[in-house]
C-alpha cells in the first residue's frame, strides 16, 4: 500500500519503526530512565552518557506503537554527538511541533533543524497520539537532567 500524503504514517516513520537506530543497552552510562505512556501502553528505557557537555552516546529499549518507537529512533539519531544544549533546544522545538495541532509555526531554520523528526508533524493533529511521539524525547530530557544534574554515576 502506498502511503497517502496526508497520512500520519510517513515512510520515514515506518522505516525507523522497522529498523530502529540506537536500539540496545549501553554498558557505560551516566543515567537511565524509564518512561511509560498509559494510553497506548508504550514503554521506553533509555540510557545516556554525557561527556564534555555532549551526548556521547545513547541507547534505548522499549515496546509499543510505531509512533513511539520510530520517534525515539529519530530522536536518538539527532541528539547523539550533539551538545546537551542543542539537544534540549531541539526537544523544545519538537514539543512545539507536537503542540501545533497540525499547523507547524516553527521558523524555517527550526524546521530544518528537526530533520527526520518533521515527519511526525501529522501526529500533532491527533491529540491521543501526541504522547506517543513525545515519549522518547521526554525520556531523553529527563535522562540528560539526571546525568548532568547530580553529576555522579549510578
Amino acid at each position: 500500500m502506498s502511503v497517502n500524503m496526508d497520512s500520519m504514517y510517513q515512510q520515514i516513520i515506518l522505516d525507523h519503526y522497522k529498523h530502529p537506530n540506537h536500539r540496545g543497552e549501553l554498558a557505560d552510562f551516566d543515567a537511565e530512565v524509564h518512561h511509560v505512556n498509559p494510553t497506548c501502553g508504550d514503554e521506553v528505557t533509555l540510557r545516556i552518557r554525557v561527556a564534555d557537555g555532549e551526548i556521547a552516546d545513547l541507547g534505548w529499549t522499549g515496546e509499543g506503537c510505531s509512533i513511539s518507537q520510530a520517534s525515539t529512533s529519530v530522536m536518538s539519531d539527532l541528539v547523539v554527538g550533539s551538545s546537551v544544549t542543542d539537544a534540549l533546544q531541539l526537544q523544545e522545538k519538537f514539543l512545539q511541533l507536537m503542540q501545533s495541532q497540525g499547523h507547524n509555526d516553527l521558523a524555517e531554520d527550526e524546521t530544518e533543524a528537526l530533520e527526520d523528526a518533521i515527519a511526525f508533524e501529522g501526529v500533532s493533529k491527533y491529540p491521543a497520539r501526541v504522547k506517543c511521539a513525545l515519549l522518547g524525547w521526554m525520556a531523553m530530557k529527563s535522562a540528560v537532567a539526571s546525568a548532568t544534574g547530580a553529576g555522579d554515576k549510578p
Binding site: 502511503v3 497520512s7 504514517y9 501502553g41
Partner: protein, 416 residues
C-alpha cells in the same frame, strides 16, 4: 422484512465521508449512531414542548411531563417490566450501577433497610470481564462497608469459568453483578446459571445490559435479576440518558441515592420524607429531551423487531469471525465461534500495535476502537496492552466487514 439498505437510509451520518472515502462505522459498541427520527424528536421537543416536568401546570409543562413519562412507558414495555414505576432514568449505565451501589451503602444507616446491609464478612462478586463501570462502584462499596470484593475468572476463550461460580458466590455474598454481553470480548453470559446461584444464597443480582439491550430482545422478567442497567446512547438514542430497572419491592425499601428536587414527599427543616420509586431516585430536573429521544429510538427498534435485529447481527458475527479467521497473524480475543457471543469482535495482530491498526484503518475511513475498552482486567488476563475492536449494529453490512478485512490486510502490508 429486515432490509439493511433501507435501515441505513435512516441514519444520515452513514452517508458522510472521512478522509475522502465513505465512512465504515464499526464502533457501535462504543456508541451507536442515531436515526433521523431520534434527531427529529429532540428538535421537536425543544421546538414545541420544552418545559420542566412535574412542576409546571401550564400547557407546555403538562406536554413535557406526558412526553417524559411516556418515554418511561416505552422503556417499560421494551424490557417487559411488570410495572412502569420500576424504570428509573439515569444519565447512563455507569450512573445506574452506581445508584445501586450507593443506595446499598446508604441502607447501612437507614432504619427499615436492614436487609440490604453490606458489611465486614460479606462479599460482593463481579466477573473478570466487566466494564470498569461494573467494577469500580463495587470496589468502592466494598471499601465503604468493609465487605470483600471478589470476581469470577474467565478462561482462554473469554468465557466465565463456570466451575468456580459456586465457590465465589457463597452464603455471605450480598451482591452478584455481571455483564450480560461483554463489551471487550463479545461473550454472552449464561444469565440463568448465575441468577440461580445468587438466588440460592440470597444475594442481590445486578445485570449490566449495556451491550445486550441494543442487540437482542430484553425481558427483565425472564432474566430474573433484581436490577438491570443499560445506556441510551448505545441503543440508538441520545447521550445523557440511561436506565436502571429494579424490582419494585426492593426499590420501595431502598433509601435515596442523590437528594434534591422531585425526589421528596415533604421537606421541613427537621427532616424529609421521600417520594415513591421511581422519583425517589431521580433528583433534580431530569434529562427530559434525551429520555424522549430514547423513547423514539425504542419505537424505531420495536418497529424493526428486536428478534430481527438479533438475527441480522448473528449473521454478521458468523460472517466476520469466518472472514477474520482467514487473516494471517490475527488473533481473536474472545469466543471464536458465534455461539453465545455478540457482534463485537476484539482482535490483535502480531507485531502491530492496536493504536497503529485503528489509526491506519481510520485513514481508510474505517472507524474501530483500540484500547482496553474500559475493561483493563481483560487485557491483563490475556497479557496484551490493548485490542482493536470492531463492533456492529443494525446498519452494519457484510460488505463493510469485507472492507475491514481488506483494510487490516493493507495495514499488515505497510508494516511487513
Amino acid at each position: 422484512m429486515f432490509d439493511v439498505e433501507v435501515i441505513r437510509k435512516d441514519f444520515p451520518i452513514l452517508s458522510r465521508q472521512v478522509h475522502g472515502v465513505p465512512l465504515v462505522y464499526l464502533d457501535s459498541a462504543n456508541t451507536s449512531q442515531k436515526p433521523q427520527v431520534v434527531l427529529d424528536s429532540l428538535t421537536d421537543y425543544y421546538t414545541r414542548h420544552n418545559a420542566n416536568v412535574a412542576r409546571a401546570v401550564h400547557t407546555l409543562g403538562s406536554e413535557a411531563t406526558m412526553l417524559f413519562e411516556g418515554a418511561r412507558d416505552k422503556v417499560a414495555r421494551f424490557i417487559n417490566a411488570p410495572r412502569r414505576d420500576e424504570v428509573i432514568f439515569t444519565k447512563n449505565s455507569s450512573e445506574a450501577l452506581n445508584l445501586v451501589a450507593y443506595t446499598l451503602s446508604n441502607a447501612t444507616t437507614t432504619p427499615g433497610a436492614e436487609r440490604f446491609r453490606v458489611g465486614p464478612g460479606d462479599n460482593i462478586v463481579v466477573t473478570e470481564m466487566e466494564h470498569h463501570s461494573n467494577i469500580v462502584p463495587w470496589q468502592l462499596l466494598a471499601q465503604r462497608t468493609g465487605a470483600e470484593f471478589r470476581y469470577i475468572p474467565i478462561d482462554d476463550e473469554g468465557r466465565l469459568v463456570e466451575s468456580l461460580i459456586d465457590e465465589r458466590v457463597d452464603e455471605r455474598t450480598k451482591v452478584l453483578a455481571f455483564v450480560h454481553q461483554s463489551n471487550a470480548l463479545g461473550t454472552v453470559n449464561n444469565v440463568e446459571g448465575l441468577v440461580t446461584r445468587a438466588k440460592a444464597v440470597g444475594a442481590l443480582t445486578v445485570i449490566d445490559a449495556s451491550q445486550s439491550a441494543p442487540h437482542r430482545p430484553l425481558d427483565v422478567q425472564s432474566l430474573g435479576a433484581d436490577f438491570v442497567a443499560f445506556t441510551g446512547h448505545k441503543l440508538y438514542g441520545p447521550t445523557g440518558v440511561g436506565v436502571l430497572w429494579g424490582r419494585y419491592e426492593l426499590l420501595a425499601d431502598l433509601p435515596p441515592f442523590l437528594g434534591g428536587g422531585e425526589m421528596i414527599e415533604t421537606v421541613d427543616m427537621s427532616g424529609t420524607t421521600f417520594a415513591a420509586p421511581p422519583h425517589r431516585f431521580e433528583a433534580g430536573t431530569p434529562m427530559i429531551a434525551e429520555a424522549v429521544g430514547l423513547g423514539t429510538a425504542i419505537d424505531y427498534l420495536t418497529a424493526i423487531g428486536m428478534d430481527q435485529v438479533q438475527t441480522h447481527e448473528a449473521q454478521l458475527t458468523a460472517y466476520a469471525l469466518d472472514a477474520l479467521a482467514q487473516v494471517p497473524a490475527l488473533r481473536v480475543i474472545g469466543p471464536s465461534t458465534p455461539v453465545d457471543r455478540g457482534a463485537t469482535i476484539s482482535f490483535t495482530i502480531k507485531g502491530i500495535h492496536p493504536h497503529d491498526v485503528s489509526q491506519l484503518l481510520d485513514e481508510q475511513g474505517i472507524a474501530v476502537r483500540a484500547g482496553h475498552h474500559c475493561a483493563r482486567p481483560v487485557c491483563l488476563r490475556y497479557g496484551i496492552p490493548a485490542t482493536t475492536r470492531a463492533s456492529f449494529g443494525i446498519y452494519t453490512t457484510t460488505s463493510e466487514i469485507d472492507t475491514l478485512v481488506a483494510g487490516v490486510i493493507k495495514v499488515q502490508e505497510m508494516f511487513s
